[in-house]
Amino acid sequence: MELLINLLINGLATGMLIFLLAAGLTLIFGLMDVLNFAHGGLFAWGAFSGVWFYGVTNSFTLAILGAILTGVILGFITEKLIITPVYGNHVQQILITLGFMIVLSEMLKVVFGPNQLAAKTPPLLSGSWEIGDVIIIKYRLFIIIIGFIVFGVFQFILKRTKIGLVVRAGVMNKEMVQALGINIKQVFLYVFMAGAGLAALSGVLMAPYSGVIYAEMGMEFAILAFIVVVIGGMGSFPGSLLAAILVGLAGSFMAYYVPALSLAVNMMLMAIVLIFRPQGLFTAKG
């Protein structure tokens, strides 16, 4: 029983981190048909800048805010410099975002050094609670809560505000949104920056969770996020949450029971979805 709960919590925590990364990816894709292969780079930058901010300020809150700010700024630069020039050309987009991924992760090594860094859990969140036989690691619970809060906030924005309405409409039919007098490129820039901020948030939360951070983590984690985006349906925000939890749980249970297959399972999941239901399990296009 306690094993089950532990695996569940592990899976949920990982799932939430993947969700934060995938949420931006899915909206960016849904809105503009841009698959950002550099998204993992923003994640890694979030992790490194967060650890740096934490080291300097000794405040985890400031570390999180600093990481998000870094992500948003990098998102702005990415959109303006990398995405806009090749707008509308898929092949070039794929090629260029991957190129930018290389640059982002190498820049990381230039700024923070080529070696992996250790990341500490803030004292308030370290340790665990014991409830009966069940041990709940505080930090993991913290990640899960943050994940749900972010989901709630974004869901509120999407459902209840004008900009959210525009984003949802844009995912369905961007030509029409423009014909109604909305500058979709401007909206897209905001969405891109928000997505980058979420990726960075995911990175900074990931750091104490895994204990060490390294430049390549961006690409490794981004692959999971891609899987989630595909399974959840491109452009579907709730879909990406469900798929992320699915992938997180599958990973945590497989890692315990059949460790050799843990990564393979998710990839196979994606392959199956892509082949049989390429629009994903949930679909945002109405």
């Binding site: 894709f29 048909d33 698959l35 292969f37 990398i82 020039p85 090749v86 509308g88 050309n89 898929h90 092949v91 070039q92 794929i94 090629l95 260029i96 991957l98 190129g99 930018f100 290389i102 640059v103 190498e106 820049m107 090594k109 230039v110 080529p114 690409m219 692959i223 891609f226 899987i227 595909v230 050799a260 990564l263 393979a264 990839m267 196979m268 994606m270 392959a271 892509l274 082949i275 390429p278």
Partner: protein, 334 residues
């Protein structure tokens, strides 16, 4: 036009002869090894060009075929005798495996839109990497293993000549391939898949053929690579290999075959010098940043790469009118 063709053929021939004579005149071991490396990556990059440049599909999983060749050859030379016969056989085995896998993967995935295809190839290739890391009894995982190469390749020069021979052979074969009616259809797919389809071509079949050809050739490059190092580990299956092929093809010039060769030369040489400079300033340890930036600029401003751009300029001087049409049609497919 005809005379330009002849001239470029003669120039190519002269370059090949010069390269063949090179090891007899120079006894620089570094250069022999470096050039061997360039030739091997030229083969890999050309195979990638068949996909990206000629068919207009972006694969992020090309490393898996390279890795298959490398492992096939390394494992067979290690388990059996390190003889020429086994070497040749292992290349054939690697090519067969790569052919079968690329056929199956292609059949399943090539009907998907470009993004999904790129992602799925990345994932499948990742799967092979995981497989190689976990199947330690066969591959020794990330630690890898060393093995003996056939006796005759102890002489670096012999191996250099063999690889050069392979490069020339592959170039000629692929040139034939892209100039054949089949190759024309591939270009049509790149330019406008929908239209090619409506003309009655089963575009999926042609894309699968392209991916099999590319996979098989990449496997050959992998086999040659393994023997040149006499060592193999999982790095042959990593994204880095795919990225190398991608950089070389884009920087050299997509859809030209010669471009990827030049790209391979430029990148390997620059890598050699830049990492040499690392002793003077640590920024050069991160030489790949320069390529990343050059690559991004190339995608935005020179999507035709070195060869394409030079050709374009050359042609512009000769045919100022036709250029308007060609600039629309060439470059990377939409």
């Amino acid at each position: 036009m005809k005379s330009t063709f002849q001239v470029s053929k003669i120039i190519l021939f002269a370059i090949v002869v010069a390269l063949a004579i090179f090891p007899f005149v120079s006894d620089s071991r570094t250069w022999t090894i470096l050039l061997t490396q360039i030739f091997i990556f030229s083969i890999l990059a050309m195979s990638y060009d068949i996909l990206l440049g000629y068919t207009g599909i972006v694969s992020f999983g090309h490393a898996m075929f390279f890795g298959m060749g490398a492992y096939a050859t390394a494992i067979m030379l290690d388990r059996f005798e390190p003889t020429i016969g086994i070497f040749v056989l292992s290349i054939a085995v690697g090519m067969c495996i790569a052919g079968i896998i690329s056929f199956l993967v292609g059949l399943l995935t090539l009907r998907l839109k470009s993004h999904f295809f790129a992602m799925l190839t990345m994932a499948v290739s990742g799967l092979f990497l995981v497989l190689a890391e976990k199947w330690r009894t066969l591959t020794f995982g990330n630690d890898g293993f060393t093995f003996k190469a056939p006796e005759i390749f102890k002489d670096r020069m012999m191996y250099y000549l063999l690889v050069l021979g392979c490069l020339v052979l592959v170039y000629l074969l692929l040139r034939r391939f892209v100039d054949s009616p089949l190759g024309r259809v591939l270009i049509a797919v790149r330019e406008n898949e929908q239209r090619t389809k409506s003309l009655g071509f089963q575009t999926l079949h042609y894309k699968v053929i392209a991916s099999v050809v590319a996979g098989v050739i990449a496997s050959l490059a992998g086999s040659l690579y393994a023997v040149s190092l006499r060592f193999v580990n999982t790095s042959v299956l990593t994204m880095d290999i795919t990225l190398d092929a991608l950089l070389m093809t884009i920087i050299g010039g997509v859809g030209t075959l010669i471009g990827p060769i030049i790209g391979a030369g430029v990148i390997e040489l620059a890598q050699h010098y830049l990492s040499g400079l690392a002793k003077e300033h640590p920024i050069f340890e991160r030489w790949i940043i320069f390529f990343g930036i050059v690559y991004i600029l190339a995608v935005i401003f020179f999507p035709k790469g070195i060869v394409g751009t030079v050709k374009h300029l050359f042609w512009k001087r000769k045919n100022p009118i036709k250029i308007a049409i060609s600039s629309k049609r060439k470059g990377i497919a939409k």
